[in-house]
Symmetry: C2
Subunit: 346 residues, 2 copies
């Protein structure tokens, strides 16, 4: 399994990227890595580390996409960026998968442009794992598509379902549609139309799910448009941070607080570990004709290592082929309602 890693993407690149890469090859015998980016910088990071030399290669790229760049400009002007060179390795068959903690918009657009979509897929979507009381669920779309049609939501459901079955090994994932109440009739124009498609699809569709229930762990896949998905993902991150800060303040304010806090600390740490973004590593871009894992800009070495592990899993199980066959199957189930082959003019 050979994976191309964008060594220059993320807030702490290339240091944590190289560190994560070294940890990966030391831990997993079946993974080889190609680090893509500024060769001299990468080599400097590698020099002090011990690892099987034949399992990490470097591919030089002279440009880096900055986080504040416009995707369209970056794609047009930076033909030698680490993101682009890494995706090109996948296209050429020199790598099985691609991981980046860099500019997610540019990574997505480049993957779409160079690799294309899986057969029948209208729009790729980001599938993010989120923790709950009973283990994680998959939120799809977590930010790739800000304006969607109902048939896009159907495809997101099919892709999330395929992800859950093949990677999380749940044979019959419970797929729910994010809405503003559980009743079938609740929702906006988009979700009400999408509801009808989901009901007809060959998945275990459990109906609408209300915001207050998403962290109970009763759904394995939660479907929504990318604007809402991104708001939910970020709001949850922000709220979890705020709650921990508020609680710490309340604890410190107590007379018994310092003792309580010391006794509590391991619990806070365990909690953080279970809900930590780094544990999940990266979010797959589903619907692309190839394996593409998008990591958080603030990824640590651990997050990079886990993202590479996820990429290896996805590639090994050929999730993108499973997705293509699921979409194909549903084309014949509800062919006239769903304009799967239609291309947007955007």
């Amino acid at each position: 399994m050979r994976i191309a890693l964008d060594a220059m993407g993320g807030d702490h690149a290339p240091a944590v990227n190289v560190e994560g890469a070294v940890e990966t090859v030391n831990e997993f015998d079946h993974i080889e890595l190609i680090l893509v980016g500024d060769e001299s910088l990468i080599r400097r990071e590698l020099d002090s580390k011990r690892y099987p030399l034949n399992r990490i290669a470097i591919r030089h790229a002279s440009q880096v996409v900055r986080m504040d760049e416009s995707p369209s400009v970056a794609i047009r002007k930076k033909k030698d960026s680490s993101i682009r060179r890494a995706v090109e390795l996948v296209r050429a068959g020199e790598a099985d998968a691609f991981v980046s903690a860099g500019h997610s918009g540019v990574a997505m657009a480049t993957a779409l442009f160079l690799l294309g979509t899986s057969k029948g897929v209208d729009r790729p979507a980001i599938a993010a794992m989120m923790p709950t009381l009973k283990g994680p669920f998959v939120l799809i779309d977590a930010g790739a598509n800000v304006d969607c049609r109902p048939e896009n939501l159907l495809q997101f459901a099919l892709m999330g379902n395929a992800y859950c079955r093949s990677i999380l090994e749940k044979p019959k994932p419970k797929v729910a549609l994010l809405s503003i109440g559980e009743e079938d009739t609740k929702g906006n124009e988009l979700t009400k139309e999408a509801f009808k498609f989901l009901k007809e699809a060959d998945i275990n569709f459990t109906g609408n799910i209300d915001g207050k229930d998403i962290f109970t762990g009763n759904a394995d896949v939660i479907v929504c448009d990318g604007f809402i998905g991104n708001v939910v993902l970020k709001t949850s991150e922000g709220l979890a941070d705020a709650i921990i800060k508020m609680l710490k303040r309340e604890i410190i304010d107590l007379t018994t607080g310092r003792v309580g806090y010391l006794l509590m600390k391991p619990a806070l740490k365990n909690f953080k570990k279970k809900t930590d973004y780094d544990e999940y590593g990266g979010a797959p871009l589903l619907g692309i004709n190839g394996t593409c894992i998008i990591s958080h800009g603030r990824s640590t070495a651990k997050a990079i290592r886990n993202a590479i592990r996820v990429a290896s899993d996805f590639s090994e199980k050929k999730v993108y082929e499973i997705i293509a066959s699921e979409i194909e199957k549903h084309k014949t189930v509800i062919p006239t309602q769903v304009g799967i082959q239609r291309k947007d003019k955007e």
Copy 2:
């Protein structure tokens, strides 16, 4: 100040409603209440309680709207419901404001139907208070309008701004637009158009706010459509519950856990108090030509009491008149762009 309370609305009605009413008149000298609902049931609850008898009246209503009823059917068929009778008291000038913990859709539709909108308002919106690290902010719309046009979002901003200035007494509230990144260009079709309107409005518009930043307390008013607002509100409620449960489990799992938990308990209680829905009492329906406070179905007596207090504040400060004048002012500022007078065919 005379307030009509739907005594039959909510999961624990009429017991908690009557209890909250009695607490209110015992605490606030300037408030009189009219309890609307089944006279014999209300009287039975009142019988055991001590309060100034001349400050609580009863208005009989023979019907109750159930939580699972369709608004259109309930409004057509239940002409003698406690919700309708209470709103009628406001329309007739017998009450200054109206509070309900019952079916929020029916309460909103009845208020809209019987009282109409404030002059110039296209669509009323729910303004919910949410806690942050630095005190609460106002989320508008928290669920009244699931599909919006950009000019609706402008009106929500103006209404939230008026609320913040008159009730929370912040002279220059920071108004932000909920989006998927802070940059001006980030968003979906709706928010990108709304952004242009907000930039032109005579408010302290601070730009887009990302989901991860809404709980930092850097915005006083956060504007979004009612679908997203409802998802954010409910997701936050659900996540806060889940985090507290997960933390408790982690604490109990420790060897030092039981001691730590006992030492921590007051901190958890303080935290709960500060983030407790009951403290805010109810969310005003802004843009209605009158004062209408919507309370949570699971309201406690404390929540009912706080909702009545909020209703009294709103009515005293005539927030609905301030809103009408704000909307009027902006009609001349950006008259052609904003189709404020346009009526939907829905």
